[in-house]
């Protein structure tokens, strides 16, 4: 590629354009209606898709029930919804329960606090995603934002009533577990990956290998169980570490083991000459790692890294087995209310949309990032 540029500069050669199809019609013709078989398949599939979409619109929008009346003692009268079951969606369940689903058993009057926490998290993701904020100050922003999150959730200062974490639930729990899990798990993963490749420190290397293999060898559920049930047994009497914190630490350790292997893949893919050139220039180990090795290794593994991030975002829902109420669990709790018991489809679709929003944002962002970083790095 490099050659052509210098040759092209010295000898201008007239170039021809590659033949291109003309417009949408040509595209349709080549891709959908090229032969009679493909025309038939196109028409048949088109019909099926159309029917599904129309049925969905009917159910979700046209025949849907948006509100239900309430009896004098505040119980929802869901007879209208029962009447259209199967024909129209009953979104009234979401209208009635969205605050329980999003914020769990957090005191009703204080739910503006977890709401702000959710917004802070989303803002934090957005700021971190923008490359112009990729500087040292970003670490301070994170520390500041996470401190504010802690203050808002716990309260106890600035005349905010204390809300202990056994009352937390819903989306904030999911975001807290995922964000802290990855924010602490990722740096730990980088250290473990570097340790595992260390040639000069065999003890560190062994420790890293044992850690990764132990954690990878067991299901997340059992790690969570250990953190919640077994771990307190080993603590001296009177010392009690908070349940949420224990779950959080379990998730951090679990995520770090997986991410470490992803990062190690990137380290291995980097040509040896890069580290040698850095050595030859006299850069110290940490400068070599920070300036040369990691920036290249990490961008090589953006796709599997984001894959793991997305996986962990959803795996946080497993904390339900140790009695924490994350978003998914709160959906179940909402459905335990007798009038709404039969409207699980609506609730689960809503939950799915929330999960999709976060995961799709992550995957789109990673694709953009790959393109952007790849542009400066063609070899």
């Amino acid at each position: 590629m490099s050659m052509t540029s210098s040759v092209a500069r010295s000898l201008p050669v007239p170039s021809r354009r590659a033949p291109a199809g003309a417009g949408a019609l040509a595209w349709l013709k080549t891709n959908l209606f090229a032969t009679w078989i493909s025309t038939a398949v196109t028409l048949a599939l088109g019909y099926v898709i159309l029917r599904i979409v129309l049925a969905l619109i009917d159910w979700a929008l046209l025949n849907a029930i948006w509100t239900v009346p309430y009896s004098a003692n505040g119980i929802a009268q869901t007879a209208v919804c029962q009447a259209v079951k199967g024909v129209g969606a009953c979104w009234a369940v979401i209208a009635d329960k969205y605050r329980l689903i999003l914020f769990g058993r957090y005191p009703y009057d204080e739910q503006w606090r977890p709401a702000i926490v959710v917004l802070i998290f989303i803002g934090l993701y957005a700021v971190s995603a923008m490359r112009r904020f990729w500087r040292k100050e970003l670490v301070l922003i994170w520390v500041g934002a996470l401190a504010v999150v802690g203050v808002l959730m716990w309260g106890g200062v600035f005349r905010l009533p204390v809300v202990t974490d056994d009352q937390w639930g819903g989306l904030p729990i999911t975001l807290i577990l995922a964000t802290f899990g990855l924010a602490f798990g990722f740096p730990l993963a980088v250290l473990v990956a570097l340790g595992r490749r260390s040639t000069h420190l065999p003890a560190v290397k062994t420790l890293c290998v044992v850690y990764v293999e132990l954690i990878r060898g067991v299901p997340l559920i059992s790690v969570l169980f250990m953190a919640s049930v077994m771990f307190p047994l080993f603590m001296p009497a009177g010392v009690n570490i908070d349940k949420l914190l224990r779950a959080q630490i379990a998730i951090i350790l679990f995520a770090a083991a997986y991410l470490a292997e992803v990062v190690r893949g990137g380290l291995q893919a980097l040509p040896k000459g890069q580290a040698e050139a850095a050595d030859a220039l006299g850069l110290s180990y940490w400068k070599k790692t920070g300036f040369i090795v990691l920036p290249q290794a990490l961008r090589l593994v953006i796709p599997p890294l984001v894959n793991t991030f997305i996986g962990f975002f959803k795996d946080t829902s497993l904390v339900l087995i140790i009695g924490l109420f994350d978003l998914l669990t709160m959906g179940k709790v909402a459905l335990s209310d007798p009038p709404w018991q039969s409207f699980s489809t609506e609730v689960y679709i809503t939950l799915a949309l929330i999960y999709i929003a976060f995961c799709f944002a992550m995957s789109r962002y990673s694709r953009g990032l790959e393109r952007e970083l790849g542009a400066s790095q063609r070899r």
Partner: protein, 252 residues
């Protein structure tokens, strides 16, 4: 062109030995390179010539014998190693530019972080050397946008930005397309004229003749012959060197 070589030793190898497992790749290598001396190392592939110069800045570790750069001995002591790597520049066969950094950043990284030079001064220095290798206009580009010859010239400038006392070249033209070899060799000849101490592993015999004070011929991990280029090329003493010369001459 011949310059006087001062009596002081820049690099001393004393009975250096190295093994890869059971394979004895360096056998009792003893070699003293004077200040401002230019030495070309040649030999068939697998003769240990790259391994030898990679031992000088400890990209490879030797297992027996001693290596000195000026008065500093190369040992496990990291302090000594840092000192040596600051003073010894290296140019690789595969360039090894940092693809995620611009040409200018490639050149200023080590001066800023190893020599603790202010950024402005480092950039000024980098531009001086990029001008010397005749590509200042590429400073803002990334390595991937440059030709192989240009990349290797940047790699030379990058090493020079550390203002080393010794430059090591490990087959600097072997990965280049034929039409780009000359531009790199010209840069190296320019560098030689400035009086830099150079150790160069290469098969470019024209370059050796023009620039080297001394040619060292290695085979099977040992130094077989060494002497001025005229003597080595016109009057080889050993059969191994005669064979090697006949092979590379046939190849050219």
């Amino acid at each position: 062109m011949s310059q006087t070589v001062t009596g002081k030793a820049a690099i001393t190898l004393d009975k250096v030995n190295k093994w890869y497992g059971a394979l004895h790749v360096l056998r009792d290598i003893s070699l003293t390179i004077g200040e401002r001396e230019r030495v070309v190392v040649c030999g068939p592939s697998g003769s240990g010539k790259s391994t030898m110069i990679r031992c000088i800045n400890r990209l490879e570790t030797h297992q027996a014998g001693r290596i000195f750069v000026e008065e500093t001995e190369l040992t496990d002591d990291t302090r000594a190693l840092d000192t040596i790597r600051r003073e010894v520049g290296m140019v690789f066969q595969s360039f090894n530019l940092f693809p995620h950094l611009t040409i200018l950043e490639n050149c200023t990284l080590a001066p800023i972080w190893v020599r603790k030079m202010p950024k402005a001064q480092a950039e000024e220095l980098a531009m001086t050397y990029l001008e010397r290798v005749k590509i200042p206009e590429q400073a803002k580009k990334y390595p991937g946008q440059l030709s192989g010859g240009q990349q290797q010239r940047v790699a030379i400038a990058r090493a020079l930005c550390m203002q080393p006392k010794v430059m090591l070249f490990d087959e600097p033209t072997s990965a280049l397309d034929p039409e780009m070899i000359k531009e790199v060799l010209d840069t190296m000849i320019g560098l030689a004229e400035s009086g830099m101490t150079m150790v160069c592993v290469t098969h470019e015999m024209g370059f050796a003749r023009q620039v080297a004070h001394r040619v060292v011929f290695m085979d099977r991990g040992e130094i077989v012959e060494s002497g001025p280029p005229g003597q080595i090329f016109e009057n080889p003493q050993t059969d191994r060197l005669k064979l090697f010369l006949s092979q590379i001459l046939r190849g050219h």
